[in-house]
């Protein structure tokens, strides 16, 4: 962490962030840097503001104070046109998938393409099919409606939509929640593979300890309204902070850690 960091390689830069609902503060003076090409996980106990932080970064929630820069551009108080241009540079996978229920998977993936590019319909369909395949779905999934998909396929379809515009930055909210261990493991591998082959920066909220061990470069631990630990998983589990200790030293944390050690 001591090496000089090229400022252009910081994709997300958060300084002095304060968010909250009414009189309840969620974050106070929170700082976080995410470098290009990293897979970073946000973890912390329930109510520590992981999803709120994610929503602030993707401009769904206006912070009360502080600064958030995406690709070096300030997004607090950004105007609509600049926000629209910025939105095509990141993709978001929502926790429940949030696929449009009246559209097929292919049409879902095509929505951002139709909205942001002037490409002809045939080419959009072709690009959408490629994204569906990149997300690891079988070819016949494109013509299906979201309600006809299983949980794991739904997440992959949502990932295909998040990848539609070839974003440099990908946000995942609980990508493996509700998946069986096999699907969850496959999803972790997919994320790592996409990161390596496409050079993606990935920011994810997760509770899945196996994902934390297998897929992340660094993990930011949220607690006490700020980031109390930010390090690769191996270092983070040795951190002194009592909240971090309690999180990783439970029976589940130890089990995931020892599986990793084998």
């Amino acid at each position: 962490m001591n090496e000089a960091i090229d400022p252009a390689s910081i994709v997300v830069e958060i300084r002095g962030l304060r968010t909250g609902f009414g009189s309840v503060l969620i974050h106070e003076n929170l700082n976080l840097d995410i470098r290009r090409g990293e897979v970073v996980a946000l973890v912390g106990g329930s109510g520590s503001g992981k999803t709120t932080l994610l929503r602030a970064i993707i401009m769904l929630l206006q912070p009360m104070a502080g600064s958030i820069k995406l690709f070096g551009q300030e997004i607090v108080g950004i105007d609509d046109a600049a926000a629209f241009r910025l939105r095509r540079r990141f993709g978001m996978l929502f926790q429940q998938g949030a696929l449009f229920s009246s559209l097929t998977v292919r049409e879902n993936v095509a929505v951002p393409l139709r909205e942001h590019t002037p490409l002809p319909a045939r080419q959009i369909a072709e690009i959408a099919d490629l994204k569906i395949a990149l997300a690891g779905l079988p070819a016949d999934a494109g013509a299906k409606l979201p309600r006809e998909l299983s949980g794991g396929m739904l997440k992959r379809a949502a990932l295909a939509r998040a990848l539609a515009l070839d974003p440099a930055l990908l946000f995942l909210d609980e990508p493996t929640a509700g998946l069986d261990p096999v699907s969850a493991g496959a999803f972790d591998e997919l994320v790592v593979q996409l990161k390596e082959s496409l050079g993606l920066t990935v920011v994810m909220v997760t509770h899945d300890l196996d994902t934390l061990w297998q897929a992340t470069d660094r993990v930011a631990f949220l607690g006490e309204q700020r980031v109390i630990g930010y390090a690769p998983m191996r270092e983070l589990t040795r951190a002194e902070h009592p909240l971090i200790q309690a999180y990783f030293e439970g029976p589940r944390g130890r089990a995931a850690g020892s599986r990793r050690a084998e």
Partner: protein
């Protein structure tokens, strides 16, 4: 996810050919592919084999890789073998990934649908509507049985849900009912009054307004407003609860959805709609009175003096008596359509529309039936 640069493209992708060799240039990313096809058509491709030099590619993403692969495939078909050379290692890896995934993608043609002929469509529609009519009758039966169960075991009745529903469907609807029925009274008195004035029969405005309103229009207007306002909300609420599996959760906990979601709504509307109708009666007659005084010079006291002599109790009761029937139609259709929601948000919208259209249609049909039957027995 451009390999080199994640910044927006400044360098549009292009191909330049010189002396039998071609160079790919620029950033082959989604942001730059617009217009690429047109630029490629203008390239004078060398005849025979092509050496395509990829060293000049600044950045490439999956879309760019897809287009590059398509270009190569097209050229191989028209010009002969193409060799992609000097590609940077990381670009090569991405191209390979896209090549591999594209092979597994393949567009699966949608199942061929033969266009349906008129007779087939007609047949399907008839069968579909017949099925839904049968299901609706079954739903009415279920609701009746739930009602019967609750009469036998009154302790299970959900009073809180009943009163809550009466408040939202009845009390909260008072302002809009007041406004619209007052305006209806004004309109009827105005249109009728102009005709009566010709014959100097101004005082008959009392019969005109009171009978039309009390017997026909007030119950109908009230029912239509309530169908749009409350019937639709019943459908949307139950439909959303189905999607979020709340209806299944109720069943699992041992609360029959009929008991909690349908019976209280049905009873609440059966109580609220007649009361709203009486309210609408009063406000519409008041609207007629205001118009009669300003337009025809029939004073409030003349109007009120004549009113009880020309309007029988029967007319009033017939009007109000229709309201519980309308209420049952609106509540049952609203709830039934809510339970028919399948899948997602679009289904909620569709069933809500169907619910409002059907309940208004059935209310008007029932009103017509009342007129025929009551006319037949001489009321």
């Amino acid at each position: 996810m451009a390999v080199v640069s994640s910044h927006p493209v400044l360098n549009p992708p292009a191909v330049r050919c010189e002396a039998g060799r071609c160079w790919c240039e620029g950033d082959w990313t989604l942001a730059g592919v617009e217009g690429l096809a047109a630029r490629l058509r203008e390239v004078r491709w060398p005849v025979g084999g092509i050496e395509l030099d990829g060293a000049g590619i600044g950045a490439i993403d999956t879309t760019g890789a897809l287009l590059l692969l398509n270009l190569i495939a097209d050229l191989e078909r028209s010009q002969g073998p193409v060799h992609l050379v000097e590609l940077r290692e990381e670009h090569c890896a991405l191209l390979e990934l896209v090549r591999e995934r594209r092979a597994s993608a393949g567009i699966v043609a949608a199942a061929a649908t033969t266009p349906q002929g008129f007779l087939e469509r007609l047949g399907r529609t008839v069968v579909q509507h017949f099925g839904s009519a049968v299901a609706f009758v079954a739903f009415i039966g279920e609701a009746a049985m739930a009602l019967g169960r609750l009469i036998v075991h009154p302790s299970r009745f959900r009073w809180r849900a009943l009163f809550g529903n009466i408040e939202t469907a009845g009390v909260n609807a008072l302002p809009i009912i007041a406004l619209l029925s007052f305006m209806m009274g004004v309109v009827i008195a105005y249109q009728g009054g102009r005709q009566l004035e010709f014959y100097g029969a101004n005082i008959f405005i009392v019969e005109m307004v009171a009978l039309t309103m009390l017997r026909e229009l007030a119950p109908l207007i009230t029912a239509i407003i309530v169908a749009g306002r409350t019937g639709s909300s019943y459908t949307a609420q139950i439909g959303t609860m189905r999607i979020t599996e709340e209806v299944d959760a109720l069943r699992t906990i041992g609360i029959p959805p009929m008991d909690l979601l349908v019976v209280p709504k049905l009873l609440a509307l059966t109580v609220a709609l007649p009361l709203l109708t009486v309210f609408a009666d009063a406000l519409s007659v008041f609207g007629g009175m205001v118009m009669a005084q300003t337009l025809l010079g029939v004073s409030f006291s003349d109007f009120l003096d004549r009113l009880p002599r020309v309007v029988t109790l029967t007319s009033f009761l017939l009007g109000v008596g229709k309201a519980p029937v309308f209420a049952a139609i609106i509540a049952l259709v609203g709830c039934y359509q809510g339970f028919r929601v399948r899948g997602g948000a679009d289904s909620v919208g569709r069933q809500t529309t169907v619910s409002v259209v059907q309940s208004i249609f059935l209310v008007i049909a029932a009103d017509a039936l009342f007129s025929v039957v009551l006319g037949g027995i001489g009321l």
